[in-house]
Symmetry: C2
Subunit: 201 residues, 2 copies
DNA sequence: GTCTATATATAGATAGAC
DNA sequence: GTCTATCTATATATAGAC
């Protein structure tokens, strides 16, 4: 198995990176081996030497994208500040909204959800993200940032869904606006759950 | 132009309905004219007699699906009850969660967002839905259901995003669970915005 | 209106030379 | 490891008979 830790300077690495890009832009069904080879600057022979075919290459590319996405999210959620500030940092990070989510976008593809090896990185990424957000929100609740009725796990699922759904609304509108409206609406709802001023910090 | 009001008993209607189903199941890129003809029980000649080709047929099918989706949502949001009850009715309606949204799912398809005539029904549907939800929430706020800091328009965008994102999480997990967790988390956040008991009904 | 024949391009992969 | 040739199936459509 090709190590995901290598950078894309060798042929196999370039093929993986080209596949990552194309899966993001065109989805799995819309990505052809030919397009991958052209973008990677590699020939047919190279691709089928290093990988068993399109599904095999796609599995490597999706795993790598999932790892990168987790690292990015973890950086936001592990920064300095209160739980509320860290969730806000995650939600307000600059994104190329109209491109959508590299991982979430693949969930629409029937051939991806039908192949356990292709779907697994999606499931693992969102499971991890929800649980990491729940952890942060739980810390905030324990620290007195939220009231006693506040539900960290449920709220974590809502936060992730707003981001993924925001992408859908933005792409449908051809405009990043709806993404930001959905996120801002969520942040206001979260503020309403804030504990009374003067609660334990 | 083929009237969207006719039922699918004639050939053109059957072609449109077959296309609606396939777009939902396989997306635009993943749907071939051949598959449409087979599902509709129509031949090549029929399809190209009634429609100019795949894009033309897809435009008719997407417009029809969008109309149907708006009618369904409007039924929930126009029912009896408080604003909170109507939004809850919309969010808690029974859905085939793992199939995803017929309209939102198409936003992932690059050929859909690139074609203004194909993307327009998506944009119009979500614009309408957000504005209809904002209307309901505004009525609720005016009726004293929510506090003065409550933002109907922002919350409406959040509600729509949670549903669309919930589909993404569920399909990624191969399990409807995450959809319902995201929706439940949202409903709890909304409850936190409730006005004090005793406010004007 | 519907059918069959035909046409070009691409998808996705294998074989074997170098 | 990489290249070129080759292969079968499908995508997407046009032409013209009936």
């Amino acid at each position: 198995m090709y190590s995901v830790l290598m950078s894309g300077t060798d042929t196999a690495g370039k093929l993986i990176e080209a596949t990552q890009e194309l899966l993001w832009e065109r989805g799995y069904v819309g990505t052809s081996p030919r397009a991958i080879q052209q973008r990677a600057g590699a020939g047919q022979g190279s691709m089928y030497h290093h990988f068993g075919g399109k599904p095999d290459l796609a599995r490597a590319a999706v795993r790598k994208s999932a790892e990168e996405m987790r690292a990015t999210a973890d950086a936001d959620l592990s920064c300095e500040g209160s739980a509320r500030q860290r969730v806000r940092a995650y939600l307000s990070r600059e994104r190329s909204v109209l491109r959508g989510c590299r991982i979430g976008g693949l969930a629409q593809d029937p051939d991806v959800v039908a192949d356990p090896a292709l779907r697994a990185p999606l499931q693992e990424t969102f499971d991890w993200l929800r649980s990491r957000l729940a952890e942060v929100l739980e810390e905030g609740k324990n620290g007195g940032e939220f009231g006693s009725a506040f539900d960290p796990a449920g709220t974590a699922a809502t936060v992730v869904a707003v981001v993924q759904g925001g992408y859908v609304l933005a792409r449908s509108a051809g405009d990043p606006g709806p993404f930001h409206e959905a996120v801002d609406g969520l942040l206001r709802l979260l503020d309403a759950h804030a504990a009374e001023p003067g609660s334990p910090a």
